[in-house]
Subunit: 413 residues, 2 copies
Amino acid sequence: MGIYDIYKNSAAPAVRDGAQVPVNDPFMQVSAMAAVTEHLGFGVTSAVTYEQPYTLARKYATLDHLTKGRVGFNVVTSYLPSAAENQGLPRQIEHDTRYEIAEEFLDVCYKLWEGSWEEDAVVQNRETGVYADPTKVHPIRHRGEHFTVAGAGLTAPSPQRTPLIFQAGASSRGQAFAGKHAEAVFIGGLRPDLTRFVTDKIRDRAQAEGRSRDDVKIYAMLSVVVADTDEQAQEKYRDYLQYVDLEASQAIIGGWSGVDLSQFDEDEALNYIKTDSIQSFLTPFTLQSKDKQWTREEIAKHCALGGMGAVLVGSAQTVADQLETWVDEGGLDGINLAYHVSPGSFEDFVEYVVPELQKRGRYRTEYEGTTLRESLYGEGQPRVKDTHPAAKYRGAFVGEPSVADTPSRELVG
Amino acid sequence: MGIYDIYKNSAAPAVRDGAQVPVNDPFMQVSAMAAVTEHLGFGVTSAVTYEQPYTLARKYATLDHLTKGRVGFNVVTSYLPSAAENQGLPRQIEHDTRYEIAEEFLDVCYKLWEGSWEEDAVVQNRETGVYADPTKVHPIRHRGEHFTVAGAGLTAPSPQRTPLIFQAGASSRGQAFAGKHAEAVFIGGLRPDLTRFVTDKIRDRAQAEGRSRDDVKIYAMLSVVVADTDEQAQEKYRDYLQYVDLEASQAIIGGWSGVDLSQFDEDEALNYIKTDSIQSFLTPFTLQSKDKQWTREEIAKHCALGGMGAVLVGSAQTVADQLETWVDEGGLDGINLAYHVSPGSFEDFVEYVVPELQKRGRYRTEYEGTTLRESLYGEGQPRVKDTHPAAKYRGAFVGEPSVADTPSRELVG
């Protein structure tokens, strides 16, 4: 909800290079895409820092209805000072407070999605004209530190009820949040062996929350440059490199990390600098500090094509070999495929890599169910698992006051 | 953003009868509908009482891009206490304060839509890699009583820039707001001659704001029951009547008006009761108090099929005659076609009434332009008129600080 303006203390590089600007509202495209696809899932990112949970819960429930259960919610707490300034705040809310707000925010959403309308509340009886049984629809009467929501949910239960919860937090607080709430986690990483430390830590967190280590599906950001032969792929990669814009890349890095790379000397090895902010945003780079000195130009060059992930270059066989290594050594459930050219990168992946992975039995050949959650957990599991924090609101209001026996408010004249 | 729960001080009647509940998020359906239509416009209602203008401006700009300029924004200030209670407010914000907030809210949106990005800011030069000229993108630096927005808009200019502004306020303050901002106004009314007083008043307001009397297009809510003959139409009408649910209708009226009809005796003539709230919500009914005594049952019965508008019943000729009278005597630009059966009511209107009106030269046979605004104002006018309050921000930031010469914020460590 703001322009990336950390690099050079200016929004100009991002605007000039079209680096994450313009950014249209991602919710708006989903119904058109859903209308022409059958199994594709749609993960939509929302910051839970500047919205009301009642409003946001309705957005996802609506999309879950429209897509017949193919919606995911990528929970972010917003990392841009410019976003805060566009929402009327003098400055960004402090990092850990944002996560406290997010915890309560999700709690309210879970109550609305899972608990407010009982499973058999919707009757739709043409004879009697009854749409729903008011004794089975409950006001959630939430009164917390950050949010107050009095009423019942405005939407009928959707196929997944709670959308599939995605998360991408890299900080320690973020990992704790992911261990508790996330059903799918995005991570960055440049080497599979070192990525394993991260995936183990996230699964430890999930286990500590009473969930199974496999309940959290982890996807590393990777991009692929593939062609008929390794040589042709390398050539394609060199061709892409000529379009790299270091200013744009540093503008992006500034937004992601909050670190203005322009403050450093050109030949400074940044992975040896020990400050908190550098440590955190350079995690993928510092993890392999023994291999390489990362100057700001080298980081910018890498990020321009690979973001915070590795770039795999080669023939279908080469790329498939590397992907197997990544998934097995890295402890991953899959990858978050980044792109260099759209739709070219995706077309290449479908044409070259998918058939090779399918031949090796490492890629699905059909879909297990119809919802996004079933694509991850298997057929017949469109709803959150019992160990997920949303599950505790399943049926939680049965026997509690319903709209049938709750006066809307004190009678006023 | 809340369940209608004024009637009987309970949400139960609305939930039981499916009266405006569930209510999904209307924004989410638009892109799918836009993908399969060419000229249809999409007016989306938003309450400007519980959102941040920066977020809302992005929603409409996104849809205006996706629909190629076919989006309208029906500005409401929210009328439901239950909505306030779901947004963390102890009670609804007072009526006139809501309009003050709405004035500033629209002002911020206009700045973002019309002024932040200059007309030729977007360059999209493949050779130089420049997306937009940062000297032509301006932070709006808005600091008002209700909102603070520091940055530049997050979206590039869309075909209409400002979506077509709709409004439906019936109160005196609402009419003042409409006279200033609305390009299209929805009204209710049961008789064309008496409706004329309302349309004249709205056009007076527009004129007082320096606009032309014709700049505000006014549409009265009407519904139509049409068949081959007058008799068959009357029979269809009688068939519809058997499905009328008086409880559902009174739940709807409670939400719209804030008046709980259950407090009145069954045979009380409500159009003679002189209280402020009754006067305002019964406007269409009190206007014709000499013709008829309106008890709560009669009001509920009428609203169930006609809402706050008339129901025209007859053959294509009969309905077309009545529509001509309505438009000419009522001083209307068109009608807001309500429905009894979906899509049946619309199919009937297209099959019977449209050809008859076209034969009489009273209905378009082609579209003037491609945007929604052109459908109202004619080809070549996709943007707001010069006399519209949004127009004053057209080019208003030229020569003012741009993102190129504005440090994002005080340099922090």
